[in-house]
Subunit: 242 residues, 2 copies
């Protein structure tokens, strides 16, 4: 049945019929891999999937969108996850956890993710599309951080830079996993990459001259000209020995 | 004269005739501002500039490229600048200086830069184009850092994250200046933004327990369980007092 034959019924059915969406994705990827992305038309896809052209556009605004079918949902999940954040949550840890949602989406279907990675590398238009998706993730993280850092004079700068660093670390680990054909422990690699970002900023919360407490590490930042007695006092304060 | 009338002569003349390129840019922006980007065709642009269609494509691959006429040269300048780096140069400071080349390009022509900023905000296609340009800058910085950090186990991660953070800080300061209609001290704002990035990483060069020297700041990272005599020794070493 195509939507052209019975559009009203299909409109009503579509939301509870993800199978058609999945069939379109499967048909699209079969054709992209067999004959190439540029050589595949939307008509080819709907023909193989056995549906009408309008069904395609009900699920996907363009041919590019069928390549990245899960990003809209993942962006919505990320927004929900950040909105559920509480004031006590560490904001940088929270955006790292939000970024992990993207990895999880890729890791749920390694074969598909690796196929898409190879396809995207070959088609400049898909690479551009992916950049705009990455940008939307980055803005989602940055908006959350801007709200959390709103009391700081440098809040928006801090938010933008940390969001970019988190996205870069995430993509570094994700691409390593994709290049390894989806083999290996993606989550562990991701932890390592995100830890690099969090460690860069958790040490910089303290203003110059102050000591900051952490789980088991104390960091003292001091001017070279500071007298030693004062450095020792700051270190003692940091170690909780004063 | 149009290239259709005398293509061979114009091909020979083009490299020493930047006036035609400038005329095309000026005509394009006049039309973009008057009637809108989408409503302006390449035919409109060449007609107003008084040149032939092929002249346009000699200078610009597409209508989008005429909006960002200087990025190719700026990318080439950035690559040259990074290649001229010496082993003694601090790699993070070098990529910050490389990013400043982009600001300088914008600041050389504030009116044009502000016009383009407003245009880009309104046209999604230009925003996407800009994202791909930003990505090329980021990759240029990251490739340089990867080479500089090649001896480190986490070199590529570090390179990617720092490049992204530098680009985010740069764009934060650049956008603030553009939003302020090109008023204010863009270079000072840029220094402040990039300083935020460099300060995040210059403190993390040292492994836990070690002291690191900087111009006038000493940072000591120590475990909470470290005896005070050892902390003092490390601080003294950092201050050059041992």
């Amino acid at each position: 049945m195509t939507d052209a034959q019975n559009p009203s019924q299909e409109t009503a059915v579509a939301p509870v019929k993800p199978a058609m969406r999945d069939a379109l994705i499967a048909a699209a990827f079969q054709l992209f891999l067999d004959r190439g992305y540029e050589q595949t038309t939307i008509d080819d896809i709907v023909s193989l999937a056995g549906v009408g052209r309008r069904s395609f556009f009900r699920y996907f605004p363009s041919k590019e969108d069928v390549v990245f079918p899960d990003h809209e949902k993942c962006l919505a999940d990320m927004t929900d996850f950040l909105q559920a954040s509480e004031d006590g949550d560490d904001p940088v840890a929270r955006v790292c956890d939000a970024a992990r949602l993207v990895l999880r989406m890729y890791a749920e279907n390694p074969t598909f993710s690796v196929q898409r990675y190879r396809l995207t590398k070959k088609v400049p238009g898909l690479r551009t599309y992916e950049l705009s998706v990455v940008w939307r993730y980055e803005r989602t993280l940055a908006e959350y951080l801007r709200a959390r850092f709103s009391a700081r004079r440098d809040g928006t700068l801090r938010a933008d830079v940390i969001a970019a660093a988190v996205v870069a670390a995430h993509n570094h680990a994700l691409r390593a996993w994709l290049r390894a054909d989806g083999q290996g422990d993606a989550a562990a690699e991701m932890d390592r990459a995100l830890e690099y970002v969090t460690s860069a900023w958790t040490s910089k919360q303290a203003p110059s001259g102050a000591a900051e407490e952490q789980d088991d590490v104390v960091i003292v930042i001091t001017k070279r000209s500071t007298p030693m007695w004062r450095v020792v006092r700051d270190v003692e304060a940091g170690l909780g020995q004063d």
